[in-house]
Structures are given as C-alpha cells and as structure tokens.
C-alpha cells in the first residue's frame, strides 16, 4: 500500500525555472522525506522534515509541511538538466514504516 500521493505525475520545465512538486498523505506521521531516483539507479535521500517543522532548506531545495492539511511540497529552484529524475515522497509513520508514493517524473529541458 502507498500512502503518499504526489502531484503532478509528470512535470516538464525549462532549465532555470523552479519546479514545485506536491505530496499528500492520509495518516499521522513522524516525518516526511523526499527522495530522487535517476533512471536505472537506486533512490537517493534529499531532505527530511519532521512533523513539528513547517519548512526546511537544503541548497536549492525547499520543503514545506502542513500537518493540518496532510500535505508537503518540494521546491527546486533554478533547475538544471541534471535535476531530471523521478522524485518520491515517503512518510514515516508511528509503526516505523517508511511508505513511498508513486513518484513524479521531472524533465528539465536544456
């Protein structure tokens, strides 16, 4: 079963533009995490935001969390062609289980 639902399913932008990806979930969480997966590779952890945090930054990444709406967003600023990948949100629940969404395919055109 997959708790997180990302939106949109696919996103295509021009290099230099910002990319915003959203994730909604259903049950209470300890934290929410975002991962990136390049084609044919394993997942790489990008950023983790705890349930008592509202916003977090890491380099060109900004993630927000709204626990009242059970939603999160990941913003990638000044996108590059190398950002082309699939992005997954994952929720860490009270049962210590990390559950992934179906992912968003981001294409950044040079």
């Amino acid at each position: 079963s997959q708790q997180g639902e990302e939106d949109p399913q696919a996103l295509s932008i021009q290099e230099g533009e910002n990319a915003t990806m959203n994730c909604s979930y259903k049950t209470s969480i300890n934290n929410l995490q975002w991962y990136r997966q390049n084609s044919g590779r394993g997942l790489v952890h990008l950023i983790l935001i705890r349930s008592n945090e509202r916003e977090k930054h890491s380099g060109r990444l900004r993630v927000t969390l709204d626990t009242s709406k059970k939603s999160s967003s990941l913003l990638i600023t000044a996108s590059r062609a190398a950002d082309t990948a699939s992005y997954f949100c994952a929720t860490h629940g009270a049962n210590s289980k990390l559950t992934f969404g179906k992912g968003i395919t981001l294409s950044v055109r040079p």
Binding site: Q2, N30, H45, R50, S96, L98, F100
Partner: protein, 114 residues
C-alpha cells in the same frame, strides 16, 4: 564510505526457476530493508530487519519469497519458484536510526522472468 552493495545488477530467468539476490548494507547500519519496485511505481516494503531479526515481513509473499540476514550484516532474498509477475527491481536499503532516520539505497537488482 562504501554504499549499499547489491548483486547481481541484472538477472534473467525462466518462470518456475529459483533466484536469489544479495545485499551488503553500509557498515554499522543495523536496519536493513528489501523493497520491490514495479515500473512507474514507488518502492514497496517487503521486509525489514533489525540486526538479524525480521521485525516487519507482513508484505512478504511467504509462499514463494524468503529472506535471511545471518549474523545481522548481509542479507539474501530468494524467490522460489519465480512467476512472470515477479519481474521488477528489488531494492535493498539500510539505515542507522530505524525509527526516524532516512534510508540509503543500493542500485537494485532488475529481475526479468520469461
């Protein structure tokens, strides 16, 4: 620091044959996970180990799948017999803080069942 190692990277077998995947987690990581990823989907947990104990195997199809983590380090996931629907990528991951931390993933094993 070496990452999570998986082998083989690719495996092609005929249905009803057995297959095994191997994973060596990052040194010192007590928690090990096996995930299944179908094409265009997110990873789905098969089994989670704390040291050598399987603490969550509720999603493992136990009629044909088995896993072990002897000595609490490397792990093997086996399918016997394989079915066409088992074609997928099998990902291994490890972490040092099981209840709240993030995971380190290996490159995965892409299984094709003919």
């Amino acid at each position: 620091e070496a990452g999570v190692v998986q082998s083989p990277r690719y495996k092609i077998i005929e249905k009803k044959q057995p297959v095994a995947f191997w994973c060596n987690p990052i040194s010192g990581h007590n928690t090990l996970y096996w995930y299944l990823q179908n094409l265009g989907q997110g990873p789905e947990l098969l089994i989670r180990y704390e040291n050598e104990e399987a603490v969550d195997d509720s999603q493992l199809p136990k009629d044909r799948f088995s896993a072990e983590r002897l000595k609490g380090v490397d792990s093997t996931l086996k399918i016997q017999p394989a079915e066409l629907g088992d074609s997928a990528v099998y990902l291994c991951a490890s972490s040092s803080t099981p209840d709240r931390g993030h995971l380190f993933f290996g490159p995965g094993t892409r299984l094709t069942v003919l």
